[in-house]
C-alpha cells in the first residue's frame, strides 16, 4: 500500500457532471425502447456531457498528473457503461454472440478449441474466453456480467497503458493525456471496442507490451524480470487475437527500422528488435500449434475489399454511397456534416501535429517511437478513401483503433500547440472543446450504424436491433424441447441466438461450406434445396417471416456471399418464406407467430 493524496475536488466535481450525462443516456435509452420522440437529442446531450468535461480536464493546462489519470480512468469507465446501458445484462452484438458460444463451450466441456459454428476462428484464439471463464467461475457472475467486467478491465488497461507509453514517448503527462483522449475519441471506442470480442482484450495487451518496452530501457529496471513480463503479455496476446498481434509486430518492425534510420542522423534511440523477434516467435508458434485456419479467415475478409478498391481506382467498379446504409436508408444531413467534419478536423490537426513534429527538436531517445507513430497516423487519409468501397468501409473502421494510436501521438502535439500550457485561455479551450465534440460525435456516427446507437423495436438484419424476446424465446425453446446440438438453417440473427441461447449447431456456408441461404432465397422448394439440406445434414429450419418486411440494415439476411436472387431493391418475398408450409416432408413443430421452426427429418431419412 502506498501513501496517496485524496482525490482532487475538481476531478470529483467534473465526475458528477459526467455521471449526470450518463444518466441522460439511460433516460434516452428508455425513451428509445418505448419509441418515444426525443431520444436522439437526449442521447447526444448525455453522451457529450459524459465525455467532454472529463476529456477537457484530462488535457487542460495546469492540471496535476494525478487529476489527468483520474479523469482518463473515469472517462473510460463512463464510456464503457454507455454500451452496457443499452442492453444491460445481455450480449447482443453480432460478434459478442459468437464469442459467447466459445465461452459456453468452454464452460460446458472444460476444454478449449471446441469447433464454434458461429465464428470458427474464435475457438483458435481462446484468451478472452479463458479469462472470462476464470472470472465467472471465481465470482459466480453470469456470463454477460463477467464478459462486461473483463472487457471493461481490458479497456482500462488500454487507456492507462497508452497514457503511460505516450508519457514516456512525448516526455510529459499533458500530451500523453491528450493522446489518450484522442484515442478514446476513435470511431469504435464507445461501442465496437466495448463488445465481448477478442480484439477488445487484445488491444489492452498490445498497449501493455508497448509500455513495457519503453519501460525496459529505463535505468534501474530489472532486464530479466521485464522480459518475463513481456513474454507473458506476448503469449497472452498471441492466444487472444490474430490481427492485433500481427499489427503490433508490424509496428515494432517499423519502429526498429525508424530507429536504425535515425541513428544515421544522430539519433540514439533503441530499436525494439528483440521484442519484435519475441512477438514473431510466439505468433508463429501459435499459428503452427493451434491457429492454422487464420490466414484463410483473414484472406476471406481482406480480398473482397482489396478487389473493390482496385476496381474503384481503375474506374471499373461502383463506389459506395457515403452515409447510406445497405438498405438504402440515408443518414440525416446533420449526421453527415458531423461525420465529414470529424474527418476534416482530424486531417487538419494531423497536418498541424506533423508540422510541429518536423520543426521542433525532440529528445533523441524519443524520436524513433514518435516518428513511427507519426507514420502510422499517415495511414488515416488512406482509411478515409477505403470508405468509398463497399467492403472497404468495414476494413477502415476495423483499422481505426490502430491508426488512432498513431493519431493519438501526433494530434496530442497539435492540441498542445493550439492550447499551450502557458495559461488557461478560455477561447483556446473552447476551440479544443469544439474540436473534441465534433471529432468524438462524428467519429461515433461513422464507426457504428446510427440505428444501433440506441435500443428500440425490431429491425430487419440489424444485429443488436434484430434481437428481441421472440427470437430469444424461440432459441431457448429449441434447447428445452428439442435438446441441444441439432443442425439448423436460419438467418444471421437467429443463427447466433440458436448457437447461444439454443445450444444448437447452425449450419452455414462460412463454417461448413453449405449454402443454407439458398434454401430460403429461392421462390420454390425444389431438388436443389433438398440436396443442400441433405448435404449439410440440416434437421431443422428456422424461418423468421419478419425478413420479408424490409431490406437488411447491414446488407445481409444470412451471410456474406448469399445468393442475389431476390427482386432488386426489394426484401425477400413473403411467399418465399412461406413455401415450407407446403413441403410434404416438413413438419411445422413450432409457431411463435413471426418465427416458425420446421423439422426436416423426413427429408433426411429419404437419403
Amino acid at each position: 500500500l502506498e501513501r496517496t493524496e485524496p482525490i482532487p475536488a475538481r476531478l470529483l466535481t467534473v465526475l458528477v457532471a459526467s455521471a449526470a450525462g450518463l444518466l441522460l443516456v439511460a433516460l434516452a435509452d428508455n425513451r428509445a425502447r418505448a419509441s418515444v420522440a426525443g431520444a436522439q437529442p437526449l442521447f447526444w446531450a448525455g453522451l457529450l456531457a459524459a465525455y467532454l468535461p472529463l476529456a477537457l480536464l484530462a488535457l487542460a493546462p495546469g492540471v496535476s498528473r494525478r487529476e489527468r489519470v483520474g479523469a482518463l480512468v473515469s472517462l473510460t469507465v463512463l464510456l464503457s457503461l454507455v454500451k452496457v446501458l443499452q442492453q444491460p445484462g445481455a450480449l447482443t452484438f453480432y460478434d459478442e454472440l459468437a464469442h459467447w458460444r466459445s465461452l459456453l463451450d468452454i464452460q460446458r466441456t472444460g476444454r478449449l478449441f471446441t469447433p464454434n459454428p458461429l465464428l470458427g476462428i474464435s475457438s483458435s484464439y481462446p484468451g478472452l474466453e479463458s479469462a472470462t471463464a476464470a472470472l465467472a467461475a471465481a465470482t459466480g457472475l453470469p456470463a454477460p456480467a463477467a464478459a462486461a467486467t473483463v472487457v471493461g478491465a481490458a479497456r482500462l488497461v488500454l487507456v492507462l497503458a497508452l497514457f503511460l507509453f505516450l508519457e514516456r514517448v512525448t516526455g510529459a503527462a499533458r500530451p500523453a493525456a491528450a493522446g489518450a483522449v484522442v484515442f478514446a475519441s476513435n470511431p469504435r471506442f464507445v461501442f465496437f471496442d466495448d463488445q465481448f470480442a477478442y480484439e477488445s482484450m487484445a488491444l489492452g495487451l498490445a498497449a501493455l507490451v508497448l509500455f513495457l518496452e519503453v519501460r525496459r530501457s529505463e535505468d534501474g529496471v530489472p532486464r530479466a524480470g521485464t522480459w518475463a513480463l513481456l513474454a507473458v503479455c506476448a503469449a497472452a496476446l498471441a492466444v487472444t487475437h490474430h490481427a492485433t498481434s500481427y499489427l503490433l509486430l508490424a509496428f515494432l518492425v517499423l519502429w526498429a527500422l525508424v530507429a536504425r534510420v535515425l541513428r544515421r542522423f544522430g539519433g540514439d534511440g533503441r530499436a525494439p528488435t528483440r521484442l519484435a523477434v519475441l512477438i514473431a516467435v510466439v505468433v508463429v508458434l501459435w499459428l503452427g500449434v493451434a491457429a492454422r485456419p487464420t490466414f484463410a479467415y483473414l484472406a476471406g475478409g481482406l480480398a473482397p475489399a482489396l478487389q473493390q478498391v482496385t476496381a474503384i481506382v481503375q474506374h471499373r467498379g461502383g463506389a459506395r454511397h457515403l452515409f447510406q446504409a445497405s438498405n438504402g436508408q440515408v443518414q440525416p444531413r446533420w449526421q453527415q456534416a458531423l461525420g465529414l467534419g470529424s474527418a476534416l478536423l482530424i486531417t487538419g490537426a494531423l497536418g498541424l501535429g506533423l508540422l510541429r513534429l518536423w520543426r521542433e527538436r525532440l529528445d533523441r531517445r524519443r524520436q524513433a517511437p514518435l516518428v513511427a507513430l507519426a507514420l502510422v497516423a499517415l495511414a488515416y487519409p488512406a482509411t478515409l478513401a477505403l470508405h468509398l468501397a463497399p467492403d472497404g468501409a468495414e476494413i477502415a473502421n476495423r483499422t481505426s483503433e490502430f491508426v488512432f494510436v498513431g493519431l493519438a501521438a501526433v494530434l496530442a502535439l497539435a492540441i498542445d500547440r493550439v492550447w499551450p500550457p502557458r495559461a488557461w485561455e478560455h477561447v483556446r479551450g473552447a476551440a479544443v472543446a469544439g474540436w473534441l465534440s465534433v471529432v468524438f460525435s462524428g467519429g461515433t456516427l461513422v464507426g457504428w450504424p446510427p440505428q444501433l446507437l440506441l435500443p428500440g423495436p425490431y429491425l430487419v438484419g440489424a444485429d443488436s436491433r434484430s434481437i428481441d424476446a421472440a427470437g430469444v424465446a424461440a432459441a431457448t425453446w429449441t434447447r428445452d424441447r428439442l435438446g441441444p446440438d441439432h443442425r439448423f438453417g436460419a438467418d444471421r440473427t437467429n443463427r447466433n441466438l440458436l448457437g447461444t441461447y439454443g445450444g444448437q449447431y447452425p449450419v452455414s456456408d462460412y463454417n461448413d461450406g453449405v449454402v443454407t441461404a439458398q434454401v430460403f432465397l429461392s421462390p420454390a422448394f425444389d431438388g436443389a434445396d433438398r440436396a443442400i439440406l441433405r448435404q449439410g445434414g440440416v434437421r431443422y429450419l428456422l424461418v423468421d417471416r419478419r425478413l420479408s418486411t424490409a431490406r437488411p440494415l447491414v446488407g445481409l439476411y444470412f451471410e456474406d456471399g448469399e445468393p442475389d436472387t431476390r427482386p432488386p431493391g426489394s426484401p425477400i418475398p413473403r411467399s418465399w418464406l412461406a413455401k415450407f408450409d407446403t413441403v410434404p416432408e416438413a413438419s411445422l413443430v413450432y409457431d411463435g407467430g413471426d418465427i416458425r421452426i420446421y423439422d426436416m427429418e423426413a427429408l433426411l431419412r429419404e437419403r
Binding site: L1, E2, P6, I7, L12, L15, V16, A19, L23, V25, A26, L27, N30, L85, Q86, P88, I106, T109, G110, R111, L112, G127, S130, A131, A133, L135, A137, A138, T139, G140, T149, V150, A153, L160, M201, L205, G225, L229, V232, C233, A235, A236, P455, D468, A469, A470, A473, W477, L482, P584, A586, S587, L588, V589, Y590, D591, G593, D599, E601, A602
Partner: protein
C-alpha cells in the same frame, strides 16, 4: 521456535544491505522493551494479543492470508454471492498480476497509475494463459480450476516475495495510507453523488430493459416423439391473459380437443397425446383464441412418418 529458527537462518543468508527479519518482540516500542520498563502486571487479553500479532505480519503475509481465504471462498462456493464476488474479482483481476510484478521487479517503487496498469493487465494476461495451461491437464478448465490455479500461483509468488523483501508491518502501512488518503466531507459528498448517479443510471437501465418485452406473442408447439406420441404446448408471452382452444386432428379426424386453456402472461401449458395409427398419417394442431374463435391463430403439423427419428 519457528520464528527464531527462521530469523537465524535468514541472518545467515541475508545479503548485505538487506534488513533481516526481526522477532515480534523487536517491534515493540522502546518504552516497552527497555531495561527501565516494568514487567506487565497481567497478560493481555487473548483478542488483543491476537490483533497485535496479526498487525505485526508483513504486508505480503497479510496479502497471502487474504488470498488464501479468497481462494477458499471461490473454490468451495461458500458464503453469499456478494462475498464470492468480493473474493473472486481481485483473485482473478488484480492479485496474480500484483504477485508477478513483485516477482519480476523486486523493490521497484511504482506510481498508482503504473501499479493499477500492471496489476490489471498482467492479471488479465495470466487469466488468459491459465485456460491454456489447464486445457493440457486431465482436469480441464470447466469448473473452479482457473481461480484455483490463479490463487495458487498468487500464493506461491507472494510466499517468494515475502521471504525476499524487507518486513514492514501491514498495520503501520495501512494506518499511514488511511491518514493521508482520508477524504474530507466535501470530497465524500461529491464522490457519493457521482457514484449514486452512475448506480441510478445502471439500475434504471436494468429496469427499463426488463420492461421491454416487445409486442408480445404466443408460442405453440407440436413435437413428435417415438411411437406416434406428441408433445403439445402453449406459452403466453403477451402482456395480458388469454384463453385458447386447441384441436388435434389426424387423417381429417379429430383426435383430441382442449376447449379452454387459460394462460396468464408468462404462463405455460403442455400435454401429451397419442395418434391412433402411430405417425403414419401425420397430424395437425390448430390453435384458436377466445376472442376470434373461428380464425386459426397458430397452425402446426407433423408430416406423415416424420419427426420421430
Amino acid at each position: 521456535v519457528s520464528v527464531r529458527h527462521r530469523q537465524s537462518r535468514r541472518s545467515r543468508h541475508a545479503p548485505v544491505g538487506r534488513r533481516p527479519r526481526r522477532r515480534a518482540a523487536d517491534l515493540q516500542p522502546p518504552e516497552a522493551t527497555g531495561p527501565a520498563a516494568a514487567p506487565p502486571a497481567h497478560r493481555p487479553p487473548v483478542g488483543t494479543e491476537l490483533r497485535r500479532r496479526i498487525g505485526e505480519r508483513s504486508g505480503w503475509e497479510a496479502l497471502g492470508a487474504l488470498v488464501a481465504v479468497a481462494t477458499l471462498i471461490t473454490v468451495t462456493g461458500a458464503g453469499d454471492p456478494v462475498l464470492r464476488l468480493l473474493a473472486g474479482l481481485p483473485l482473478v483481476l488484480v492479485v496474480p498480476g500484483h504477485a508477478l510484478v513483485a516477482l519480476a521487479w523486486p523493490g521497484q517503487r511504482l506510481g498508482m497509475a503504473e501499479r493499477a496498469l500492471l496489476d490489471l493487465g498482467l492479471s488479465l494476461a495470466l487469466a488468459a494463459l491459465s485456460g491454456l495451461a489447464l486445457n493440457w491437464t486431465p482436469w480441464g478448465l470447466g469448473g473452479v480450476q482457473p481461480p484455483l490455479l490463479l490463487g495458487l500461483f498468487s500464493l506461491a509468488g507472494i510466499a517468494v516475495v515475502a521471504r525476499r523483501e524487507p518486513r514492514r508491518p501491514w498495520s503501520a502501512a495501512l494506518a499511514g495510507w488511511r491518514r493521508s488518503a482520508a477524504p474530507g466531507s466535501h470530497h465524500a459528498v461529491l464522490g457519493g453523488t457521482a457514484a449514486a448517479l452512475v448506480a441510478t443510471a445502471v439500475a434504471f437501465s436494468v429496469w427499463s430493459a426488463a420492461q421491454d418485452r416487445g409486442p408480445g406473442f404466443t408460442q405453440a408447439w407440436l413435437v413428435p416423439r417415438a411411437a406416434g406420441r406428441l408433445d403439445i404446448g402453449l406459452r403466453n408471452d403477451q402482456a395480458r391473459a388469454d384463453t385458447y382452444r386447441l384441436r388435434l386432428t389426424a387423417g381429417g379426424r379429430t383426435v383430441r380437443e382442449w376447449p379452454a386453456v387459460r394462460l396468464r402472461p408468462g404462463q405455460q401449458w403442455s400435454a401429451a397425446a397419442a395418434l391412433p395409427d402411430g405417425a403414419a398419417t401425420g397430424a395437425e394442431l390448430a390453435v384458436y383464441r377466445a376472442e376470434q374463435p373461428a380464425q386459426v391463430y397458430r397452425s402446426l403439423r407433423v408430416a406423415p412418418g416424420g419427426g420421430a427419428g
